[in-house]
């Protein structure tokens, strides 16, 4: 049988089965179990109406509990056990976690994941905000938005191929077909190269460090005032942000100094994906490229929702476009920016395909999801693999709690 025909038949059976379940279960409830007629008509209708919601919910609840809720518990259990040769499991307590924390690859994955967690949401949101603001003001804005949004439809694997072509390397005596190397070879060490490859990136890094410092200051400052309006519950969060900021500033200053002193290998084609530390950034660019469209669409809608009169008032008061953007618009859409940020954060935590397809975690580009896949399906070590999965879950949990808290608040 041809795969197409086989597919078609299975589609009909699968979808038909679903529809049939709902139709016949309702029919059964109304016609056989509690028919709304006869001596007990009223009682029957009430009973049927009590059961019906669960009839409607049953498939969804079963699927959700089997495919999402149960695995969380089961993974937790697996992470605390070990397979015994010959079948069966043995309780080992935290041994898997201890074993995992002894592996340098795990710490590499965790460190890279932290970098991803900061760089990708930050850059996607920043570019998205820029694109949203710019495209709202020009006539071909909608076309521009479509084109920036387009990578959303492209699979991570497709994106990996697209960017592998960008990063492609040929031997020095052949013509380069990857655009990165073609641009790189155009720099020959003159003043233009110094401007583009040293001065501008260093300024960018310093600007980034300054921005991080500002954000951290906003978070940390309330704690320094003795009687500031600080809720005790936010102190860990504030300390966390502060610590992350210190690390980021340290990293960016170190990179800046390293870049100034670096002797760049002009004229030599680079294999971009094998340069330790920086290659992670080349992989991150792929996800930023994909996620910017998402950020742009959401932020663009939010920007349009900013009340016109606040902007008019600012113009009347003589604010320039930059002030209007940073002091009027951005504060008013802060809530949406947080939503975009957290959504992209979740995507980043699960990122697997890009690393799997482009470098497979070699050359120090490992991330948690790919580390977990390695452990589960290559090393066949379910205990450590599950422990790695639990680490991902742990990182997602704050966002999960925050979302549930907000959803409940909204419903009241």
């Amino acid at each position: 049988m041809s795969p197409a025909l086989q597919g078609l038949i299975t589609i009909i059976i699968g979808v038909g089965g679903c529809v049939a379940y709902f139709y016949f279960s309702n029919l059964f409830l109304d016609k056989v179990l509690y028919p709304p007629s006869g001596p007990n008509a009223g009682r029957n209708i009430n009973r049927a109406n009590m059961i019906r919601p669960w009839l409607f919910l049953a498939p969804a609840m079963i699927a959700l509990s089997v495919y999402l809720a149960y695995p969380v518990v089961e993974t937790l259990r697996l992470s605390l056990t070990q397979r015994v040769p010959g079948g069966g499991y043995q309780w080992v307590g935290f041994d898997n976690y201890i074993k995992m924390s002894g592996e340098p690859k795990f710490w590499e994955a965790l460190r890279n994941n932290m970098l991803w967690l900061i760089v990708v949401p930050a850059m996607s949101t920043a570019f998205g905000l820029l694109a949203a603001q710019l495209s709202d003001r020009i006539r071909w804005g909608n076309l521009a938005k479509s084109l920036i949004f387009m990578p959303m439809a492209i699979s991570f694997v497709g994106a990996a191929v697209i960017w592998k072509l960008v990063y492609d390397t040929r031997p020095a005596d052949q013509e380069q077909i990857g655009i990165m190397n073609a641009v790189w070879l155009a720099f020959e060490g003159g003043p233009v190269s110094v401007l583009f490859l040293k001065i501008l990136p260093v300024l960018g890094l310093l600007g980034f460090a300054a921005a991080v410092g500002m954000v951290a200051w906003v978070f940390v400052r309330p704690m320094l005032r003795p009687s500031g309006p600080v809720g005790a519950g936010t102190i860990p969060l504030r300390l966390l942000v502060g610590a992350a900021a210190v690390w980021l500033i340290y990293m960016s200053l170190r990179s800046a100094i390293g870049l100034i002193g670096a002797d760049l290998p002009y004229g030599v084609p680079q294999t971009w994906l094998t340069i330790p530390f920086w290659n992670s950034f080349f992989l991150m660019i792929v996800l930023v490229w994909i996620q910017t469209g998402f950020a742009m669409v959401i932020l663009s809608a939010a920007l349009r929702g900013v009340p016109e009169d606040t902007i008019e008032a600012a113009i009347v008061d003589g604010a320039n476009p930059f002030q209007i953007f940073f002091k009027i618009k951005v504060p008013q859409i802060m809530g949406t920016i947080v939503v975009v940020w957290t959504t992209i954060t979740i995507v980043v935590l699960k990122v697997f395909d890009i690393v799997f397809a482009m470098s497979n975690g070699q050359w120090e580009t490992q991330v948690l999801a790919n580390y977990m896949y390695d452990k589960l399906f290559r090393a066949n070590d379910w205990g450590v693999g599950s422990a790695a999965a639990m680490v991902i879950m742990l990182l997602v949990t704050p966002i999960l709690i925050w979302n549930v808290y907000n959803a409940r608040k909204e419903m009241r």
């Binding site: 699968g14 919910l57 495919y67 387009m150 439809a153 072509l165 016109e308």
Partner: protein, 380 residues
């Protein structure tokens, strides 16, 4: 928006230029792949895709003289052409690999035994010999030529329509389709009923269930891999389409229920109450009123789920693809090609573009619903 008080912003040009740069940056990588998929392997290997539209001067691979021998004035002559394209321009040629640019176009080179060879500027060559060259090894011609841009569909033909091609995508294409369509429709059906119950039916524990759905929205599917694979093996489903559909259904449900419930709650209460007064049952209200009215939300989710299942690698890798290789999907096929055909960009680019084309079509055709769904789906 800055025009509100009648002053045109002086930044307009800066805005146009920065937006154009941004769009170009975002479009360039995809464009590169697209252009590459229409070039021949030779072209891709010797020049960047950005020069695809310009005439390129490069050294062509050696071509051995061949063709029918004709006797003209006592000499044996073979005539032929180096290139299929008629507008190629030869700038230099030679007969040895050590001196590939020894002769000008139009010059006559004396080879051994009185054999002469000349190559004209347009690639036509004439080999002339005092004795018949039949059965002997004819010389090779090395040429440096400027060839005009050339685009071809051969890559697509080879990858889509040659059943014997192991790099082919046709089987993977249908497998992907087989995974995608039920995995898109089944969650919609299940979620629509559940969303209706959560939005419009009263029962104890409703708020708790909604909170649970919101919580499950962010659970990483990585956690589900091992437990579910174990479960599938125990139940007897093993690796196959059924397990993949069920997995996709489970992973897609939270978003589906969340999106649809939010939309259905916003539908006007009057319509539903009127229908109830008129004696419609819940099932009738759902199928006759709610479903048609919820079309935009259904479409949004359908697009999400379609893109997600079509583009998925991890779920197929774990739940579908077995060692037989019969059930490979396109994403897996591409990863495989990246490993085995890393440098053959004509194969890679074409395969990748085939897998990208369908989502792109869906994207541009239904962008409105996608945007609407995104706006409703990001947890506020």
């Amino acid at each position: 928006m800055n025009n509100v008080v009648g002053t045109k912003s002086s930044l307009t040009w800066a805005v146009h230029i920065s937006m154009a740069v941004l769009v170009a940056l975002w479009l360039f990588p995809t464009l590169g792949l697209f252009v590459s998929s229409f070039r021949t392997a030779d072209q891709i290997a010797t020049s960047g895709w950005w020069s695809a539209l310009s005439t390129q001067e490069r050294q062509a691979p050696a071509i051995r003289v061949g063709g029918d021998e004709v006797e003209v004035d006592g000499r044996f002559v073979i005539e032929g052409r180096l290139f299929r394209a008629t507008d190629a321009k030869v700038s230099a040629w030679g007969t040895t690999s050590t001196q590939p640019e020894a002769n000008e176009p139009g010059a006559v080179a004396e080879l051994a035994d009185g054999v002469t060879l000349s190559v004209a500027e347009d690639g036509a060559y004439v080999l002339s010999s005092p004795v018949s060259t039949e059965g002997t090894r004819l010389p090779r011609i090395f040429s440096t030529a400027a060839t005009p841009p050339e685009f071809t569909f051969d890559n697509y033909r080879a990858i889509l329509f040659e059943p014997s091609n192991t790099d082919g995508m046709s089987r993977a294409f249908f497998n992907t389709l087989t995974v995608t369509i039920p995995a898109t429709i089944i969650p919609i059906v299940i979620a629509a009923f559940a969303a209706y119950a959560l939005a419009w039916m009263d029962f104890p524990g409703r708020a708790l269930l909604i909170a649970a759905v919101v919580g499950l929205l962010v659970v990483p599917l990585q956690l589900a891999l091992i437990p579910l694979l174990k479960l599938h093996n125990e139940v007897g489903i093993g690796k196959g389409y059924l397990g993949t559909w069920l997995a996709h259904t489970g992973f897609g449900l939270p978003l589906a229920i969340y999106l649809l419930r939010n939309y259905m709650v916003g539908l006007p209460r009057d319509i539903i109450e009127c229908a109830k007064v008129d004696g419609a049952s819940d099932f009738q209200i759902f199928t006759k009123i709610i479903l048609p009215l919820s079309f935009p939300a259904l479409a949004s989710f359908a697009i999400f789920q379609f893109l997600w299942t079509w583009n998925d690698l991890l779920v197929s890798l774990v739940f579908l693809i077995d060692s037989s290789g019969q059930t490979t999907v396109m994403t897996k096929q591409i990863v495989e090609l990246l490993g085995t055909r890393g440098g053959n960009w004509e194969i890679l680019a074409t395969a990748a573009f085939i897998s990208i084309a369908v989502p792109l079509l869906v994207f541009f055709a239904m962008q409105k619903y996608l945007v609407r769904g995104l706006l409703a789906g990001s947890v506020k």
